[in-house]
Symmetry: C2
Subunit: 199 residues, 2 copies
């Protein structure tokens, strides 16, 4: 495309590979940014750069943070003895938006999957068991997606924690079948958390 | 959201305001970038910064470029005497992807609109008339959107160029390649029927 800037085309190409975007939406975004460049574009570049440099996984829970341990893990008010297990950081964010949970998290980073050859060790489930014991967790809330792999993973973790002394609960029905947490409105998540039951 | 980084939330907020994105898609993109940060995120930050610093409008045609005059305006092979008038740089890019046009462009930056109080001067139509005369343009191709405002603008420009000696043409209307009749609006079908040709 002869528009005098390889950088613009490289930017469109990079944007087009982001999740949910394609060439057309990437072009629209880049043109939008160029029109407003005095403000948004430099700001976006600066933030991306800072986040790229600073972001890492919390060593305790797997949340994304700019320190070794995230703000949730270091907040003494959240040492409630409740641990919420989520598949992904996006799900942790969704739970936080619901504002119904006051404990801490454990991010698995995926679900068990025979097809993709993802086993308990890949998800750090042994580390989760250790953590439950070490932190004397009273309740483990499994907030996994209502998919086959999510539910398989929930049952595996419940079995593995059977002798830990911690109660294992799951979010209430209300999460639609096949539904993913990150798609739910905040009220649904709060209601499902309040009505959680023993697995 | 207590995830230990205001920058991440600021980045999500900025992304969510981009055209076609919202909070959810912005969160997905930011998490995706953080996971791949070694590669994509710094690269994206660098490109955004370079494009923000370097991009400007071609002084002749309004295309986006990193020089005073864009690669199309400075390419002697494209001095064909044909000038294609488009509403937006996105439309110029679309024409270039079609690889069917070998002349130069004029980007209006909008259409006439009584509602939004956009008149001929706002779109630089006097400058277009001057340019047609100065560059001895033989044919002006109006590649404007098939909307009411687009067509109003096309007719206004055709009238304004009536004494210029340049032929004024418009893109043919019809069934798009691969288009199914059942999915087309009635206006398109009528236009295609009126412009029917012998096979
Ligand atoms: Zn943490
Ligand atoms: Zn130009």
């Amino acid at each position: 495309m002869a528009d005098g800037s390889d950088d613009i085309q490289a930017l469109v190409g990079l944007m087009a590979r982001l999740p949910g975007l394609g060439p057309r939406s990437a072009r629209r975004i880049v043109l939008h940014l160029i029109r407003k460049r005095a403000g948004q574009m430099s700001q976006l570049a600066g933030l991306l750069d800072r986040v790229a440099v600073n972001s890492r996984e919390c060593v305790t829970c797997g949340n994304i943070t700019d320190r070794d341990e995230c703000a949730i893990c270091t907040d003494p008010a959240r040492a409630t003895g409740e641990l919420c297990v989520v598949q992904d950081v996006a799900d942790l964010w969704a739970m936080e938006r619901g504002r119904a949970f006051g404990g801490r998290y454990h991010v698995l980073g995926g679900t068990l999957s025979a097809l993709d050859e993802i086993g308990p060790d890949d998800l750090g489930i042994p580390a989760l068991i250790d953590r439950v014991e070490r932190e004397k967790i009273r309740e483990v809330i499994l907030a996994l997606n209502a998919t086959v792999d999510g539910q398989t993973t929930a049952h595996y973790i419940a079995d593995a924690l059977a002798d830990s002394g911690a109660a294992v609960t799951v979010l209430a029905q209300g999460v639609p079948i096949g539904g993913e947490l990150d798609y739910l409105d905040d009220g649904t998540i709060s209601a499902a958390l309040r009505a959680r039951r023993r697995l």
